[in-house]
Every structure is written in structure tokens, then in C-alpha cells.
Amino acid sequence: MNHTPFIWAAYGIGALVLTWCALAPLLRKKAAIKAILEMRRATNERRANHDADA
């Protein structure tokens, strides 16, 4: 029996799962920073509108 496909499949699955595991927090961080910046922009706009009204 040729064992090469089994060996590559095991390493391939390992690489795939661990790559996803490493990338997932980076994607979440990007989303979190975007949310923080949007929140900050909204606060600044509200503050500017409030100052203009005053």
C-alpha cells in the first residue's frame, strides 16, 4: 500500500486547521477595531451636532 497520500492528508488537515486557528483572531481583531472606530466616529459626529445646535 502506498502510504504517501495518507501522510500528506494528515499534514494537510493539520496545516489547514492550525492556519484557520491562527487567522481567526486576526479577522476578529480587524472587525473589533472597525467597530471601535465606527463608534468613535458616531460619538464625534453627535458631539459636533450638539455643539452646532448650541
Binding site: 492550525l18 486557528c21 481583531k29 473589533a32 477595531i33 471601535i36 472606530l37 468613535r40
Partner: protein, 265 residues
Amino acid sequence: MNDVPRKNALLLFLHRLGSPPWFYRFAGKLLPWLWAAFAMLASIAIYQGLFEAPPDYLQGEIFRIMYIHVPTAWLSMMIYGLMAAMAFVALVWRVRMAEVMAMCSAPVGAAFTLVALASGAIWGRPTWGTYWVWDARLTSELVLLFLYLGVMGLYSSIEEPRKAARAASLLTLVGVVNLPIIHYSVKWWNTLHQDSSIGVTGSSIHPEMLWPLLIMAAATKFFYAANLLQRSRVKLLEQDIRKKWVLQIPEISNATAIEAQEPGN
């Protein structure tokens, strides 16, 4: 005489580690070194394991799956043990960082358990003639995966993060009973899975085959450390989204400064 300041320095370090802004900065500095150590050790181990280690006298080339299967299986258990220790600290002393780190360990542990199970199944096909048997070692490792998934599910099902972490920590502690079952399953029951080849007193593996395994085991520990710190930093950002320290991190303050300089602002 020198013990008192040293003790104080350790206490100060632990105290600082509990502060989210300090932890965020400290982890950020540590991360590139941990990833670099992982990349270097994993490259050496994979090269030696796949190309330099001699084939096994009985299994031939298929034994090379050992270099991914064994370190991930070891780490799947180690992560659960550490997660349980952090969950204990979180429950007893209500340390928020322990809660965050325990909960961030669960997906990493689940990933390593999945790799251990998948690589073991692939190894089983040519050696045992089947991908899966309901053998005590395999079943208890599958239970470990379900425990990780259960902890993750419970944590995400409760909205208030601290309440969620406490509930999930309790489940983590209950699941610790599975660790000795996994470890001793090959001794307690008659299993298809072989007994350990490496023990505290020595190893039955030839050094040429053993070294890549030990290097890979060290590499996976660096992966866990780096990934855990990365996940904990993100979790802190998500939880402290309205806190002042978050606005002062370079990623946010730099973006805010660029926006302020744009015309029209």
C-alpha cells in the same frame, strides 16, 4: 535577603498581568517572538520528521504521521489541564484575566484535538485497517473534543461575559475527570491504540526518530502560547470596547489621527 524583593517583583508581575491594558501591551511585545519560535521549530521538526528520520522497521513510512499526531494529542490534553487551572483561579479568586484566558484556550484546544483525531484516523486506516474504532483511547479523546465544544457553546450562549465565563469554567472543572481517563485508557482497558512509547523514565523510540518529535512538541507549545495571547487580546478589545485604554492602543489612535488629518475633518 534577596528573596523579599524577588517575591515582590513576582507579585508585581502577576498583579500587572491582571490589568487588561498592561496585558494587551505585554502580549503584543511577546507575540512576534512566540510565532518566530514556532515557525523555526516546526520547520526543523517537519523537515527532520518527513525527510531525515529513517523509516520504521514495522510500519515503514506511515509512522511519519506521528510527528503531527502525537504532539497535537499531547497538547490537546495539556491545554485542557491549563484551561482547568485558569478556570479554577477564575472561579475562586474572580480574576478576569484568568476567565478570558481560560475561555480563549477552548478553541485552540478544540483545534488540536480535531487534528489529533483526524491524523489518528488517517494513521489507523493503513495500520489497523479502519479509520475509527470505539476504542477507549479514541472515544475518550472524542469526548475531550465534545468538552471543548461544550465549553465554547456554553460561553457564547450567555450574554454577560463574566457570568458566561463562570458557568463555562464550572463545566471545564467537571470535564477534568476525562484527562486521567484518556491517559490511562490504554492501561485500564484492552485497546487497539498502543501504549505510550515515551515515559518519564525513558523512551523506546530511536533518538533519530525521537528528536523531531520532541522539537515538534515544543513548537506546538509556542503555537498555543502565541494563539492564546492573540485571542485574549482580541477578547479584551471586544469586552472593553467603551473603555478609555482601548482608544489609546496604537491601532485605534493612529487611525484616529489619520482621520483627523484628512481634509474635511
